[in-house]
């Protein structure tokens, strides 16, 4: 059996699955239920200074559905905890005492002034919590008050606040990053420069989930008006994976630990984040959609997969895919593939044809009797037909062997790797030599 325990910047947990700072971690009651269910740790919902904030009294969530009302994306306009600081601190202390083997990280958001951090940090430390996470990501409400993503979008602020925290607590400091920024590497580098022990990402994406076409109000609607909220759930996973990978492979932050967040719904999603460099993962939307019991599928699934692949521990998985993330310019231009349609599996829906004929390269023939075949002389191997085919495995991409002539280009495929940096069409190719 694979060992799922993790030691993330000194914070130990029985498995890499933490609940992200969010409604599920707002109270002792919820967190105890999560720990009973088997979650490895939590990031307690963000604390602020008293007087505690208030939330709207109307809907806090908007949703994007897939088929059968499957939740693909969720956004929220909920703020940080709306309970008194003392109540939260008391509960955190109690839960950590009762559940010493679970990770207890406390999310914090106070004004961007050193006195504020100096005031709250000792109080959190006193609870026995394992670490803190600086909420520089929340894109709604708090950002209007100069906190959350308003800090996270200014690398200098990140560095400054991180440094204050490192100077004022013994606890590990995790900096949570906002994706609402042009290049995620800059805030990550700033956190690193400020002495952060780790970063966690992504926080939610600024969003409007839908517009009510009767009332012309964005959803969720509060008395006929809406505000941008933070988007999360399966829909944001690709964005999160990319940002995690960007940080994991950035030479300036190579050894900066990452807690991966963003649409993790099954063990597989988690494994992908681990492979791209995350040391732990944080989950929210999946738990909010299905309840805490999903942890069973996640832990068992990850364990089974690791056993099957011979990975003994989570650390064996972390970062395994990072060396394979590269820049476009280094992709092998001598790797030539062609789509292949398995006629036995084809159900003749013609979606590959419509996609290719209407929107791509006219490389699929529709022949008598709805027989669909690939015209290698036109196929650029874009893969769109594979993606839109409803039958898994029906269309595959087949690599042409070196020495074979690509009927589209008329060129013999070379065995050696060759990329854009040396391509004759690249005006910079010579200069690079």
């Amino acid at each position: 059996m694979a060992d799922l325990t993790t030691d993330f910047v000194g914070i130990k947990s029985p498995n890499p699955f933490w609940l992200a700072s969010a409604p599920p971690t707002d109270k002792e009651y919820n967190v105890v239920r999560a720990f009973k269910a088997g979650w490895g740790g939590v990031v307690w919902k963000t604390l602020g200074l008293d007087p505690h904030i208030v939330n709207v009294n109307g809907p806090r969530y908007g949703v994007v559905y897939g088929a059968d009302r499957r939740v693909l994306g969720l956004n929220n306009i909920e703020l940080i905890t709306d309970r008194p600081l003392e109540v939260n601190l008391r509960e955190i202390k109690q839960v950590k005492r009762d559940w010493p083997d679970r990770a207890m990280v406390v999310s914090l958001m106070v004004p961007c002034e050193e006195w504020a951090w100096k005031e709250i940090l000792p109080k959190v430390e006193e609870t026995g919590a394992d670490g803190i996470e600086l909420n520089f990501g929340c894109p709604h409400g708090m950002s209007e008050r100069g906190m959350g993503s308003a800090v996270g979008q200014v690398p200098e602020y990140i560095e400054m606040v991180t440094r204050w925290c490192k100077q004022n607590t013994r606890m590990p400091v995790i900096v949570k990053l906002t994706p609402n920024i042009t290049d995620i590497r800059f805030p990550a580098r700033a956190a690193y420069a400020g002495g952060a022990d780790a970063v966690s990402l992504i926080n939610t994406v600024s969003s409007i989930t839908s517009v009510n076409l009767d009332t012309m109000s964005p959803e969720p609607s509060i008395d006929g008006k809406g505000s941008h909220g933070g988007y999360c759930g399966p829909a944001v996973k690709p964005i999160a994976l990319n940002m995690v990978a960007e940080i994991a492979r950035d030479v300036e932050t190579l050894d900066l630990p990452i807690s991966g967040i963003g649409g993790i719904t099954t063990w597989r999603d988690a494994a992908e984040f681990l492979a791209l460099g995350a040391g732990t993962v944080q989950v929210c939307t999946a738990a909010m959609t299905y309840g805490f019991k999903i942890i069973d599928e996640m832990t068992r699934g990850l364990s089974d997969w690791m056993d099957g692949k011979g990975y003994a521990s989570v650390a064996d998985v972390v970062g395994r895919a990072v060396p394979n993330v590269t820049d476009w310019q280094y992709l092998n231009l001598n790797y030539v593939t062609k789509a292949r349609i398995d006629q036995e599996l084809c159900i003749k829906c013609g979606r590959c044809f419509a996609a290719c004929e209407d929107t791509s390269h006219q490389a699929i023939w529709m022949k008598e009797g709805r027989v669909f075949e690939v015209n290698d002389a036109e196929c650029v191997a874009c893969n769109l037909c594979v993606d839109v085919c409803p039958v898994e495995g029906c269309i595959t991409m087949e690599e042409l062997a070196p020495g074979v002539t690509d009927p589209r280009t008329g060129r013999v495929i070379a065995a050696e790797y060759a990329n854009w940096t040396t391509h004759p069409n690249n005006p910079a190719a010579k200069a690079a030599e």
């Binding site: 059968d68 013609g350 979606r351 419509a354 529709m366 709805r370 409803p390 039958v391």
Partner: protein
């Protein structure tokens, strides 16, 4: 309840009142909104979709399903109805398992097609419930067209002609319009008076005058109509029933399945309908199945469908055969009636040989208080002067008969396969041709 399934003879009231209600409830209950969205999500929006090709009225099925998916069932109904004005009834009675749903690529992929029929019903029901009629008439052409027969072909023809601005007089022989939709379909396929509701909805196009109790060869003559109107469309169906040709087939317990079905459809109280303890239905088509299943649902102890050829040759679809089996109807293939002896029917096994179907000589008897003939209908009262072909009015192209100015469609005309949906297509296409001829 004085009787029960074991009561001998042909008697009413074999079942408790609530059992009748349950037995004759909607065969395919309508989707609710969520079910419809889930079902619609299964459609792959195929390129030049095979389901469209398989639909006799060529409804743009992927489009209407996508409209349901996108939250506009009434717009979806518009897409359906512009091709098939009786899309509501066809959603209920089409043998979709041999038409659109058989062609559905998900049938090929997983043996579970998109439920096109039920989705079509969801859309058309939504439109009718909203009280919408999405079509309007063109400016009046001043032309008058007689449509004889208010069945599926005649209704479709009349509506399309009215849309084009012609004045239509729609004649029908029976007390209620609708033809087989009203009189010839199993009750559980069109519950709650749907056939009449649909006709009333269709008539809202305006420009159609319905004249009932008028039959060709009785109150009407083709010459008279041709003289009075600019064009005539005949959608008179098949009012004759083929004879059994077995000894004793004029006995008291022997009747036509179409009459049995019609009587059942018109019954106010099913408990008053007499049905045999042991019923034998002769035939292998939809009418045979409709009659047999309903006899069983009325409380017959045993119901047997006797079909002279092999089961694979039954015109009734596999779905219909399974439905019959699930209701407890026994299908006896390769057997034909020889004689009716009081409450028994004598039969003979058959076999396929080089000279066609022949009796094997081996005979057996089945108890049969009631025998229902369902071996096909034939054209009766075809007006003189119209060329026939195989006992039907010969038509070419879009319903043109041998007489100029006279069109025909539906079951009375050649071509087609005696389906509601085919009749609708033929009526519609004839109307387009009439319109093109008149304008």
């Amino acid at each position: 309840m004085t009787n029960n399934p074991m009561t001998p003879g042909i008697v009413p009231g074999r079942l408790p009142a609530e059992t009748y209600r349950e037995n004759f409830a909607d065969l395919h209950p309508p989707y609710d909104a969520h079910e419809a969205r889930v079902a619609a999500d299964r459609c792959y929006f195929c390129y030049e979709a095979p389901c469209i090709q398989a639909c006799p009225t060529s409804i743009d099925i992927p489009l209407f399903i996508r409209q349901i998916q996108a939250g506009q069932p009434q717009a979806a109904a518009g897409t359906i109805l512009e091709q098939n004005i009786l899309g509501g009834m066809c959603a209920r009675v089409c043998p979709t398992e041999t038409l659109c749903e058989e062609a559905c690529v998900r049938e090929a992929a997983e043996g579970k097609p998109v439920e096109i029929g039920r989705l079509q019903r969801y859309a058309t029901d939504a439109l009718m419930a909203a009280g919408e009629h999405p079509f309007t008439r063109a400016d009046s052409t001043g032309k008058r067209v007689a449509v004889v027969g208010a069945g599926p072909a005649g209704l479709a023809c009349a509506h399309r002609l009215a849309m084009h601005g012609h004045e239509v007089v729609l004649y029908d022989a029976r007390p209620k319009p609708g033809g087989l939709n009203e009189y010839g379909i199993a009750s559980y396929k069109a519950v709650d008076g749907f056939a009449q509701a649909e006709v009333a909805w269709l008539m809202r196009i305006g420009g159609i005058e319905m004249v009932q109790g008028q039959a060709l060869g009785r109150e009407l003559t083709l010459d008279g109509l041709a003289a009075e109107y600019d064009a005539v469309f005949l959608g008179i169906g098949l009012s004759g029933v083929n004879a059994l040709g077995a000894e004793g087939d004029d006995g008291a317990g022997v009747s036509d399945a179409v009459d049995f079905i019609a009587e059942l459809r018109q019954a106010e109280d099913l408990a008053t309908l007499p049905v045999g303890r042991n019923v034998v239905v002769i035939g292998g088509g939809m009418t045979a199945v409709d009659a047999a299943v309903q006899a069983k649902l009325l409380g017959a102890e045993s119901v047997t469908i006797l079909y002279r050829r092999g089961r694979e040759k039954m015109p009734a679809s596999g779905f219909e055969q399974d439905l019959a089996a699930s209701k407890g109807v026994r299908i006896l293939a390769h057997a034909m009636p020889v004689a009716v002896h009081g409450a028994e029917i004598e039969c003979e096994y058959t076999e396929d040989g080089p000279d066609g179907l022949t009796g094997t000589g081996e005979r057996f008897r089945l108890p049969a208080d009631q025998v229902l003939r369902a071996i096909g209908q034939r054209l009766e009262g075809a007006p003189a002067g119209l060329a026939l072909d195989g006992g039907k009015i010969r038509v070419e192209g879009p319903g043109r008969t041998s007489r100029k100015g006279v069109w025909a469609g539906g079951d009375c005309a050649t071509g087609g396969d005696d389906l509601t949906v085919t009749a609708v297509a033929e009526g519609r296409d004839a109307a387009e041709d009439i319109n093109a001829t008149l304008c």
